[in-house]
Structure formats: C-alpha cells, structure tokens
Subunit: 412 residues, 2 copies
DNA sequence: GCTATTTGTTCAGCGATTGAATTATTTGCC
DNA sequence: GGCAAATAATTCAATCGCTGAACAAATAGC
C-alpha cells in the first residue's frame, strides 16, 4: 500500500508552512540545476505567491541563497536561481573504526567541507580514550567550519557494531567494545554543537547503516532502494528502501554476515554454522589467498590483495572468486526477499569489486527468480574509505533539509 | 532516518482538512474503545473545536456513527462514542488459488460481512473462465452487501504468483498461469464497483502479500513489523515494515522460497540449488512423510499430515522437524537481515505450526546474533484459510480510512 | 436543588494559501 | 531607439480551516 503517508500527529495551521518549507527546500536540494521560484511553483504545485513567501523565509534563515548564473536565458525577465547556502548549518560526522578515527563536516548541499583521518590501531585503546581523541579532532573541525561560516547543528557517530536506540554500543566485536555508553562518555567533553529543535545533538549508529546513507545522498543521485554491503572484518549491510534507511524493529537490521551460505559448514563465532562471514569476511579472504594476516592491518591487506589479483596471482584470484560466490549466494537471497535492483559493494569490498562482482552476478543470475525480467546492478561504492563518516555528517544535514522549521525558529 | 514523512506533493489549504480527516478517522479505527470527541482531541493534539468539525464531516459522510454505550461513566456530561460505520463503503476481496476460489466483503471496521468459497481444482481451468466464475460469485456478494447497506468501492485480487504494477500476472507456476492480463479480462464483465477518488477499482497482488496485510489488520492488533510466511506448494512471504507492506522495487519481494538452505543441495526449478522450497514446500514435506501426494489435493494433504503428527507418526514428525529446521535457517537469515521480532506462519503452515515452531525457534536461537537481547516470536496466523481474500478486501477499506476525503467528496 | 465536572458547540481572530492584478526586467522586432 | 511580447516575481483582498475562550448541555454526588 504505497499511500502517501500523512504526518504522524495533528496538522495545525502552522504545520502547513512547515511542510511547504520542507517541500520547497527539498526540491531545491534535489534539483539538478538551480531552480527559479517559478520552477518551484510548477514543480510543487504551489502558487508562485506561496513559493515566494516560502523562499523568503528560507533566504532570511540563510538556508538558501540566490545563485549568480541564471537558470534560463531567453525572452522575459531573467529568473533568479536558488541554491542551498554554502554557509549556515552543517553536520559533524564521526567514525571510530578498527584502524582509524575519522571526522568530517558536510554542508547543506552535501559537500564535504572538512575531513580529518587519524590512522591508528584502536583495538588496544580504551573507548573513553578513543572518544577523547575524536573529540579533539572534532574541536579542530568545528573551528575550521566556523571559518567557513558553518555552524555544527548535530553530530553522528559511526561504530562497527550493534548500537541501541539510546546510543549504547552493545557490541563491537572487532573493536573489543561491549556496552559502551557513548553519549555519557561524550557528555563529559564541552559541547561542539549548537542545538536546533528537531535535530538530535548526537546520534550513534552502525557504520554500515551510515555508509549506506552516504551512498544514498551521494552525487549523482542513485536509486532510492538498494543494498549497501560493507565488507570489513565483519560484513554489515545497510538497507535503503524508498529513500529511507531501514533499521528494523530495534535498529539491528543488516546483519548479512550471518546469513547461512553453507549451513553445515564452518562454525561461526555467532553460534551458527557456515555463515557468510566465514567465507567472505576480510580475514577469510586474506587467509584463503595465502597472506599471513597478522602482519598487516586490515586496509593494507585489502590493498595488497588487490595488487596480487591485478598481477594475476592464482591464489588471490581463487580466494576472491570463492568469496564472491559466497557473497553472491547471500545477496541472491536478499534480492529474492526484498526485490532490490541495486547492490553496492562498499568498505573493503569497494577496492575488490572488479573481482567480486562477476561471481556475485553469476549467483544472482542463477538463483533469483525475477532476474530474467529485471536485471540487478552490482557496483562498487562511489564514496571513499571513510564513507560512514561522510554518511553520518550527511544524515545530520538531511534532517535540516527535511525539517527546516526547527532551524528557522532558532535563527529568528 | 525515522523522520515523519511529509506528503509527497504540495500542502494546500484543503490538504489540511484532508490530513486531519484521515488522522481522526484513523484514530477511531485503531482505538480499542469507541472514543469521544474529547478523547480524540487529546489523542491527536487537535482542539475540541476542530475535532468536532472534522467529526461532523465524517458523520455526514456516513463513515462513522455514534455508538450507544457511552465510553465513559462518572461526573460530567456523558460522552458520545464514535465508531466506524457498519454501513457505507466496503471492500471486495477476491482470490484465485490452486484448489479454490474465494470472495469476501469487508466493511470499514474490518469485519468480514460476506464470504463465499468455491472448491475446485483450478489448474485445468483457463484464466478467463476462472475469472468469470469469480465475477459471478462477486455479483452475488455485491447484492448481499447492498442488502446490508454496503457499497463496494474497490476490489483486490489475490493470486499465487508474480504480479506486476499493471496487474499483469507474469507467472503463477502452480496455477499454470503465465502473462495473464487480469484487468483486461475483468473489464469485459459489468463493473461491480462504485468508483471513488483515491481508491483503485482493481488491484491484483500476490497472495502472500495480501495475506500479510490481512494479518496486519486482524484483531487484536499485532506488531507493525513482521514476516508472514505462506506455506503452500511454493513458499511466499509478505514483509510488513512499520505498518506498511513492503513490495520491493517492482513488487516482487518476499520470494523466501528460494533462499538457499543447502547451497549444494537439491536442484530447484528456479535454477538454483538447495532452495528452501525443496525442503519445506508442501510437496517436500508430504513426500518426506511418506504420503503419496498424487492422491490428495494440497489442503487435504496438510490436514492428513497434521492428523498423523497428532497421532505420533514417526515419519510425519521427522518430516515436519526437518522442514521446520530448513525453514528456521531461512527465517534466521531474514531476521538477521531485517531485525524483525515476529514471524507469522500462515497458509498451509498455520495448521502445522505446533510442529514447525520448535525447530524454527531453535535455528533462530542458534543463528541470530541479537536473539539474546530480544526474543523472536513465531506463531501461527490468526486468520483462516482464505486469509488472502480477507486481506485483499481489507486493503481496500484501509485506503478509505487512510484517505477519507475521496469518499466524502463523492458522497457530498 | 446546587455544585463540580466533563462534553460538545459557537464565534471572533488569525495564519497561510489562493488567484488576479501589478510591477520588474529582459529579448526581439520594426 | 522604441515598443511589444514574454517571463519572473510581488502585492493584496478573499477565503479556508485551526485556535482559544466563552458558553451551553448533561450528569454524579452531596
């Protein structure tokens, strides 16, 4: 039932303006060329009078600005193009991963305006210390952002593990974290965020989820429903349905790493048998390729593997083919279940995509009933290594775009 | 991003009333006791003045009526309870299945007001003839409905197969249908439906999807996210997320029958190997239990199997245990992927649930990473055999409840 | 019979959208 | 160069629907 879903609560007089602010701003955000007020009127169905009034609010709140290059040329008064402001609210993205810390700032338009990566093995570091380092990096990011006229209105932290609604990291096995109360630990540091109604100061979420969100909002815009697979030590998936991340009942969706691909196969640390992770996880691939994994950190191992495959190393090629086949079995199951037409390989898989895609596609072709009518695209992620941090920061500014009324109420 | 999703288009002056009509009517529909106007005001956040105006519209359009038993007793003016009208718009549910045709009428409140089942082997019957019989049954249903003051405002047809957006049945393997243009075939018969803006006259959908919708709207209300598995000859699943059926990019989601449970196992007609259907499909179970399947139609075979299991027949019990284990492997994968907390066994599985649930739960417990923190419920469907027809009819009236403005515009 | 209490309605006020008229600014043609 | 056509954006009275407060209705308890 694809009904236009109504707002949850009461629709008051003022909601009308709130909804139309969001409608117009969203249109400006997704347009490929800066639209004029007249363009917006025809696109949204509102009258030009209303659009003018709404745009005036947005201009006053510095969420949009008028662009110099006119969107049209020809007879008639020239239109004034509207673009998202390159100053004003911005999102702070944070990421703790096994071998790096990342911080970035993304503006309203989705541009990455600041980026810092600190490479280090985080496994021996206590959570509180890791977060303290991250806060230090974030402080520098905030100052840099302020110099560009950007105000941080919210932060999102990506963690490779299970996170509950309150931001408690239940389990991040590869990081060695268990029951880490991130919000409480971060509350001990001076706040970097200017609170805005409707935008949570801090969201903690799974790295795979946030990387998928980053992919969703990357340029050029891709499909609105897809599966994003982050192949790290574990294998996580972010499921994007109709332009929204699907989190599951408790926010623990996407545990694709424990789909069974050989039900009577190798035992897995999850307690099951033959889980995907045992055949297509980073350690499994590296080991199968004959690389002594202990000598290398995860990202270097992946790069080395790509080098070997490039050079035609038989062991590497076979390891990648086997991993791709296992991945394909799992992905085919997901596609059968959810009827998705796009699968994005992210994280460590992105660099290995040239060798993983063919066997994945082969399994999809063999196992997906509907593949004959509708082809499935499998492609590497367009975002770089710290996709989750970018997606995290992007998720903050998307809230401003989706609910501009909160920011405008603040800005006066 | 669980933002309150705004309406897709422009929010005009009149949309406000439309949205609040839907809000108030939805509240009346989901309340456990007939709410008063005052109850609705506090529940929705609207003022009592607005609620009174909205309710007046709903009463005038005969979508709700005032109930006799007052919702409250005590000091103060007695409240007048509001309930969904038992006259007015109703939905027509149709179902073509392998061994029966079913027609039913469901009123606004979700009550089944008419029900006809015609048992026959439909495999040798041409699609046009099967639909003609269904139309005949529907005509009688319409007359019966009219006698109760019900007007049919839309129809939904459940088919055990893949259906595209236009209502074309691409493939219904167990029925022997391929590329059947249902809307065109039904257009040759006189219309039974009174057109209402916003309500499609005919929707054709997968039987598993509509059965899941029926479960969603069954009384008492259950969870808003769950997996509904219809175990017939094939195995289909309806995925309900946040109170809405998830259809996938092309409407072909839920093909759980082809999740791999033994990737190097038996070949499947889909082209893959070791698909769930080969281990937990009705034929597989019946054969494994030692019943000669040819002698029995599908529903009788299931009943017989339940009898044997009840009597302690070792072969039947083993067959059910093995099928349940295979089903559990697949369900565990789905739960890992989507983080659902409820699985409903419907269709042929409903009657076999006492024997299927334990092995399914065992596999979930062993393979689902998060099962330790959040238990998963596995239970049989509460609806009867023709759940899809009831769900189909229910999906029609749900549209009226979700968008009452269309009906009100018609009724004046 | 009076008061407290709760329900539901009435009504002036107001915010936001609408549609038509008006102003603003350019291109192209004579 | 000047004028008409075309397109963009604004202004303004009218209207729709929600709000808040006052008011009328109806009952229980004392």
């Amino acid at each position: 039932m694809s009904l236009t879903h109504a707002p949850a609560g009461a629709v008051r007089q003022g909601s009308l303006r709130e909804l139309n602010l969001a409608l117009v701003l969203g249109r400006i955000a997704t347009a490929d060329r800066p639209p004029s007020r007249a363009d917006l009127a025809t696109a949204t169905g509102l009258t030009r009078a209303t659009v003018s009034a709404v745009v005036e609010d947005l201009l006053a709140g510095r969420l949009v600005s008028e662009s110099d290059p006119a969107p049209r040329s020809g007879a008639g008064r020239p239109a004034r193009g509207l673009v998202l402001a390159d100053q004003g609210p911005a999102g702070l993205g944070l990421e703790v991963n096994v071998d790096y810390l990342a911080v970035c700032v993304v503006d309203l338009a989705g541009q990455v305006r600041h980026r810092t990566v600190h490479r280090a093995d985080l496994r021996p570091v206590a959570p509180a210390d890791a977060l303290a380092r991250l806060v230090e990096m974030a402080g520098a990011a905030r100052e840099d952002a302020a110099r560009h006229g950007l105000t941080l209105v919210g932060a999102a932290l990506a963690v490779p593990g299970l996170v509950d609604d309150a931001g408690l990291v239940r389990l991040a096995p590869n990081l060695g974290w268990r029951d880490v109360p991130v919000p409480a630990l971060l509350a001990e540091h001076p706040p970097l965020i200017e609170q805005v109604p409707g935008v949570p100061a801090l969201v903690v979420d799974n790295e795979a989820n946030l990387a998928a969100l980053g992919e969703l909002h990357s340029q050029p815009p891709g499909p609105s429903s897809f599966l994003h697979i982050s192949g790290e030590v574990g294998i996580g998936a972010g499921i994007v349905l109709d332009g929204a991340l699907f989190r599951g009942v408790r926010g623990w969706s996407g545990e694709i790493g424990h789909l069974p691909v050989h039900p009577e196969g190798r035992p897995c640390r999850c307690g099951g048998q033959g889980c995907l992770e045992q055949y297509a996880g980073q350690e499994a691939i590296v080991t199968a390729a004959g690389l002594a994994r202990a000598e290398l950190p995860a990202d270097t191992a992946t790069a080395r593997l790509a080098e070997l495959a490039e050079a035609g190393d038989a062991d590497a090629l076979r390891a990648l083919h086997d991993a791709g086949t296992a991945l394909g079995v799992a992905v085919a199951g997901v596609v059968n279940l959810l009827d998705l037409d796009t699968v994005v390989l992210g994280g460590g898989y992105a660099a290995l995509a040239p060798w993983l895609c063919p066997p994945v596609l082969a399994e999809i072709g063999a196992r997906v009933l509907t593949a004959a009518w509708s082809p499935v695209t499998v492609r590497p992620s367009t975002l770089g290594a710290e996709a989750a941090a970018v997606g995290a920061a992007g998720s903050v500014v998307r809230r401003i775009v989706a609910q501009p009324a909160g920011w405008l109420a603040r800005a006066g």
